[in-house]
């Protein structure tokens, strides 16, 4: 039997959907016994949400004042404390999990699989390398404890059910370092859906030409209830903030609908959107590589087309 511990990601009040995707990945392992661990200052609300996820057998609630902010250096010894007896320790492949899980793996002296896109059993996993240009099947020797980050774009979120798994309180006995202090985090824009989990994404590239022009996309996004994304070129040019970057070095996403305006389609960008259900590309260059993978392509001037799409949607809704 595989005993799987999943480290929950949350903001103190709400469980991040990435955690439910880790649960889905873990459920693919035959005989999985799944525990979710919630590290928080007061984890009552988050633990209650985690407990309702289909497939979760138990929730560990680890409350400590030091857990008000998710600092890898502070969390890692606590994860190690509760990981005793677990064969697998999973976290999401978000910046939270990417920061924390290797620190946990090193303390456990365990190997780590990053960006797991499929679990083919308790010891066999698939993950991307070379910016997604190679998919590697990795075998972990039986009996080796394994740490993994789960590529959230590869899994559906486990559904929340009516029944709840038991929540167990755990006291922190691990010694916590004080050498790392949280200072601040820039305010997240809460008026639009989160890019990582949105079902629709409107994205722009260098062709937008300026930060002011980029605002054109916000209007369409709001009409569609979509999140806004950007190519690395647009971010580097200062047209959009860094947290909107989609691609290998930004966010890897899998929305139902991805609308790319003025994005040529560099490999590193395409890596970030390959799992999108439908890709729409609008670009004035008919030779742009993005048309090679787009489900629907339109060659033309985005400055005319975006307002027109907005008008057409408005006219029919």
């Amino acid at each position: 039997m595989s005993k799987i511990l999943i480290v929950a990601e949350h903001d103190g009040a709400k469980l991040n959907p990435a955690t439910a995707k880790c649960v889905t990945c873990a459920r693919a392992i035959p005989g999985a016994d799944i525990t979710v661990a919630v590290f928080a200052a007061d984890g009552a609300a988050v633990a209650a949400q985690a407990a309702t996820l289909a497939g979760v057998a138990k929730v560990l609630r680890v409350d400590h004042a030091a857990n008000a902010q998710a600092l890898a250096a502070t969390l890692a010894p606590q994860v190690v404390q509760v990981a005793a007896g677990y064969s697998h320790v999973f976290g999401p492949s978000t910046t939270f999990g990417k920061d924390l899980m290797p620190r946990v793996a090193a303390l456990l002296d365990a190997p780590q699989l990053s960006d797991v896109m499929a679990a083919e059993g308790a010891t066999r996993f698939r993950r991307p390398m070379y910016a997604g240009n190679a998919i590697v099947t990795v075998e972990v020797p039986a009996g080796t404890r394994v740490v993994a980050t789960v590529r959230t774009a590869s899994f559906e979120a486990a559904a929340a059910g009516a029944t709840a798994a038991p929540v167990e309180g755990v006291a922190v006995t691990a010694e916590l370092p004080t050498h790392t202090r949280f200072v601040s985090v820039s305010a997240a824009r809460s008026d639009r859906p989160d890019l990582q989990t949105a079902s629709r994404v409107v994205s722009g590239g260098r062709a937008l030409g300026s930060a002011d022009n980029f605002k054109l996309l916000y209007g369409l996004a709001d009409r569609l209830g979509a999140a806004v994304g950007a190519s690395r070129a647009a971010v580097d040019a200062g047209y959009a903030p860094n947290d909107l970057q989609v691609g290998q070095t930004g966010k890897i996403i899998a929305p139902e609908l991805y609308l790319a305006f003025g994005i040529s389609g560099a490999i590193q960008h395409l890596t970030g959107i390959k799992d999108a259900r439908t890709i729409v590309a609008v670009n004035k260059d008919a030779e742009a590589p993005i048309f090679e993978i787009a489900d629907i392509g339109l060659v033309g001037d985005l400055f005319q087309i975006v307002p027109e799409i907005e008008r057409l949607i408005g006219a029919n809704d």
């Binding site: 240009n133 439908t278 339109l298």
Partner: protein, 249 residues
């Protein structure tokens, strides 16, 4: 001495189109251009800038791998590193092993900062820096887009999913670099000549008391599933109609 240790990795150049070998044993690397991992180049640039501000006295660059890696160490010396350490091995090195070897170099060099790229663009693991910090028992500030040193502390801005997070860490510490931290300098010809005279020390990886044995077996490599080209529409109305037909609007 106030020293910064930068670790670099030799990887397939980021402009090379990656091809999986037909027999599934790996990717084609024969005759392919190799370079310093781009994130590690940013790490080195940051270390050099810290030194140029007078906040560090020496930048030591290290790498782990076969003899060919000395090309990348020479490039790093030409960029401005003061000396280089080559931990030589022909064995494939997994991140936990790399972290343990770097931990040995930390013992040897006693740096105030270790700066690494946030991930290598070959295995895309993004593990080594965090693992080194854990083994060293020191703070980590990953995915850095801004680093400021003052006294025995570093204030680091990190690129996280929510936006930008700022941490304050006590030194010594490990920093891993994101794309927008800086733009690495170009190497000039006279610097390449000068770099040939800079010290480069070779250490046998097997002699450092770390097991080099990989824990994971890479069973097979496959090319990713490809998306096929879809349909072209001629205007916005056709586009909106097509989306409606698919039930997406």
């Amino acid at each position: 001495m106030k020293r910064i240790l930068v670790s670099i990795k030799r990887v397939v150049d980021y402009n090379v189109r990656i091809r999986v070998k037909p027999d599934g044993t790996g990717v084609v690397t024969d005759g392919v251009k190799m370079s310093i991992n781009p994130f590690d180049e940013i790490a080195l640039e940051e270390a050099l800038r810290i030194k140029e501000k007078g906040l560090a006295e020496e930048v030591v660059v290290a790498t782990i791998g076969p003899a060919d890696c000395q090309q990348q160490l020479r490039t790093a010396l030409a960029m401005g590193a003061d000396r280089a350490l080559h931990v030589q091995t022909d064995a494939p090195i997994e991140p936990p092993v790399a972290a343990k070897l770097l931990r040995k170099l930390v013992d040897k060099e006693q740096p105030m900062l270790a700066i690494l790229g946030k991930q290598a663009i070959d295995d895309d693991a993004s593990q080594t820096g965090q693992m080194l910090a854990a083994l060293w028992g020191r703070p980590q500030a990953t995915f850095a887009s801004k680093v400021e040193l003052a006294g025995d502390k570093a204030t680091v801005t990190r690129e996280v999913d929510a936006g930008l997070e700022t941490l304050e860490v006590e030194l010594p510490a490990v920093i891993t670099t994101d794309l927008r931290l800086n733009e690495p300098r170009y190497v000039k010809l006279p610097d390449i000549m000068k770099a040939k005279k800079k010290p480069l020390e070779t250490l046998d990886a097997a002699s450092l008391g770390v097991s080099l044995q990989p824990a994971l077996q890479l069973v097979k490599f496959e090319a990713p599933a490809t998306r096929s080209r879809g349909v072209m529409v001629k205007d916005a109305r056709e586009l909106v109609d097509a989306l409606k037909k698919k039930g997406l609007l």
